[in-house]
Symmetry: C2
Subunit: 518 residues, 2 copies
Amino acid sequence: MNGAHALLATLRANGVTTCFANPGTTEMHVVAALDDFNDVRGVLCLFEGVATGAADGFARVSGTPAATLLHLGPGLANGWANLHNARRARSPLVNVVGDHATHHGALDAPLQSDIASVASALEGWVGRPTRSDDLADVTAQAVHAAYGPPGRVATLIVPSDVAWDDLSSPPTTWPVLARDVLRAPDEAQLRRALDLLRTKRAALLVGGPAVDAEQLDLAARIAATTSCRVVMETFPAITDRGAGVYRPEHLIYLSEFAIAQLADLDAVILVGAKDPVGFFAYPGVASRLTPAGCEVVTVAPPGTDTAAALSYLVDGLDAPTLGPEAGERVDVPSGELTSRMLAAAIGATMPEGLIVSDESTTGGLHLSGATRFSPPHRWMTLTGGSIGMGLPVALGAAIASGGRVLAIQSDGAMMYTPQALWTMAREGLDVTVVALSNRSYAVLEMELRRIHPDNEGTPSARLLELDHPAIDLAALATSLGVPSVRVTTADELVVALRRSYATPGPMFIEAMLPRGIN
Amino acid sequence: MNGAHALLATLRANGVTTCFANPGTTEMHVVAALDDFNDVRGVLCLFEGVATGAADGFARVSGTPAATLLHLGPGLANGWANLHNARRARSPLVNVVGDHATHHGALDAPLQSDIASVASALEGWVGRPTRSDDLADVTAQAVHAAYGPPGRVATLIVPSDVAWDDLSSPPTTWPVLARDVLRAPDEAQLRRALDLLRTKRAALLVGGPAVDAEQLDLAARIAATTSCRVVMETFPAITDRGAGVYRPEHLIYLSEFAIAQLADLDAVILVGAKDPVGFFAYPGVASRLTPAGCEVVTVAPPGTDTAAALSYLVDGLDAPTLGPEAGERVDVPSGELTSRMLAAAIGATMPEGLIVSDESTTGGLHLSGATRFSPPHRWMTLTGGSIGMGLPVALGAAIASGGRVLAIQSDGAMMYTPQALWTMAREGLDVTVVALSNRSYAVLEMELRRIHPDNEGTPSARLLELDHPAIDLAALATSLGVPSVRVTTADELVVALRRSYATPGPMFIEAMLPRGIN
């Protein structure tokens, strides 16, 4: 029994049984050991950013870490952007990164690099055992660190000799570490929050774990009893939505509008969310979004029991239960395909229990309204701002849930990780992709026009266009094994969505939208 | 005049006029400033690994750095794998990485990350000015550092306010730093090398800049006068090949074979190459490739004048000039398409002056022999072992040279950076891609069988197969705007190659090979 066996056995003992893999030679003993662990599912990805994004999606849906299997520094770096999103989603995740054998590292072979520096920038946990006999314990520590709470990215660097060396005395059981529990919220802060809710123009800013249906209902009760507003963080990792689920305001993405949104507040109470700051800085625009003098109270920082915090406030206010908000599902749309019609088509057709991976950027402007009274569903967003998450996260969510996933995917962002489509086909996953083809980096065109209004036809404008040549997204998907269709009207989109929801396996729908923002 | 103008003006003043870009909001002022620099060429890439690989290829062919333009930590990370290859190629290269505004960084906005840690793992140069007035000087330092010698990856982190703030007093000229010159080789080591060449079983191990036609000719003269062997490093950044160019032995990739290759040597003289070590470590196989007791003499470490070192040895040995080795170009092949036939088709058709980007891995086994007496050409390889370099490096080489580039590309490796095809189409570059479709990670299958021989049909074996589903590489290329053809015989491949060489713009040829190594 070698280190690779100890690694897989300990991962399994600690509940990690899915491994999104893009291995190389240094990981080959781990690959070989997979044959002795039939209950560990190895999922091949053609690019590491797919593997890490899939592990993020897996964690968001299941609350459980998946492992990745990556090849030295370049493999970790290729996966880093989606690990950044996972870090911002507070997803528990265990990277397994192969490295050169311990005796080989000092020789500066071509693939030698400082893996730990790349990993440390993810601000999670990093470990690198140097003996096979230590690997099980360090693996258990990695899973423990990944779980948190809050969840984090744990990176376990495994030198190849640590994987291939036999254990000196194989243990009869594998180490399992008890998970840390959520911390209780700070009662002094909760009391202060109660005061503010009773006396000030206040908002609950909810995020992290506080945006599931139950906790949103608690927030709704607080809002109904006081005059407070409930605002959801801009990019939640995963939230419940649809008919019967309370729908708070959404913190607006662009700083100027978010500042206006929060301008009349005296107090903001943070429940699982962070003190709100601009996604980007802009000349002459404040980076902090709350107005001067606004009191910010943190009742449930990361790792804290947000449900307990909300329950405390509900109890303190004696806030009664509420019935669900009444409303009608949007009608099935017909006619020209615009962002608005696209949103209606999705809202009118989505089945109950759907999981949505939303990387729609500008094309998704109308989705929230159009899905308001659709059957209950879950919604995942671009937590860390690192584009290329949509398809990989959908892939991981499909594996975690076994159910239908809808990826709503802008074209520019899709081109970072299109390889995810191949793994969807390989694994026969029930993923419906709606790709929003507007042939531009529309969000960047908007940003460029803000600083450079008269730029039509200039080199800068051309640098943000995706239509020379236009990418045939449907053909791209087909080339990777996913059946595809191109739709140019709302009617065609409705037909394609319904067909996909009724058909096992992945389907790719290229939705032809007007160019730019519409 | 703002910092972005100072950045571009200083880059241009120091000879950097090509920018491979995948920008975002933090880089938008640099994008806008491009409109005032018509002689700086912005080349849009859909993924950062394409931009960095292109900058590497540009540098290998021209000796001149290109810039990249990348978006914060995730952008740099996405480009890191090909930067690793550039680092190993000692390519001069200037990364420009946008960051949050200086006042925004402490707020931990979603895209905030430790960019410097990710950059530092490239072991080159890292700088981050915090005032617009400093940006020109720091930019000049970045280009200076990139040039070396030896060349290196310089990463210039530019906070967005440093780009957008106006300069307090715009200079009339921009800083230009004189380049450092190559160091002279160590004369004591050269004298020792002369002794060894005269008295011992010695080999010149040539690499880095010492593998162009002129320096290879010097090495050939040394070999002809002594009994020494000339061995080229396994993965040169760029080397001259073909009729009239001396062809040394090639250091074999797999350690066991390389150890056997060097086993009878008493001395190895390093000229631009490093002390040879195994690409990977294997159980029971030595990591150092030279035999025990073999003396290793470094006459020209990186940054040293390898031509001067070789000339010193030529003069010291009074080695006469040589005529070119005689030989016939391979015949045009016909019949079944195997790796051998593929190599012959390439060797029989390649035009003079072709630049080859070789990421053929196992499918390219026969290329070196088959192109031995083809017209003179240049050849680039996978210096750092981080796959996904072939298409991006070809793209950059085409922009640097303006001539025809041939990318010989394995299918597994191609799937890391297929987005490069789109930029080839967009820029109308004369790139011929021959994709070797064997539907497997054949090199990994070989590695797996070494440790796990009876694995047919097991989960581990399936994890290295690319044929469920098979990727339609030709359709993938077409979807990205590159005309494509699929060939199944040597005859068809010859026709397709000749047609591509005669047709401006890119062409993609999917060569259907038997599965695995053949």
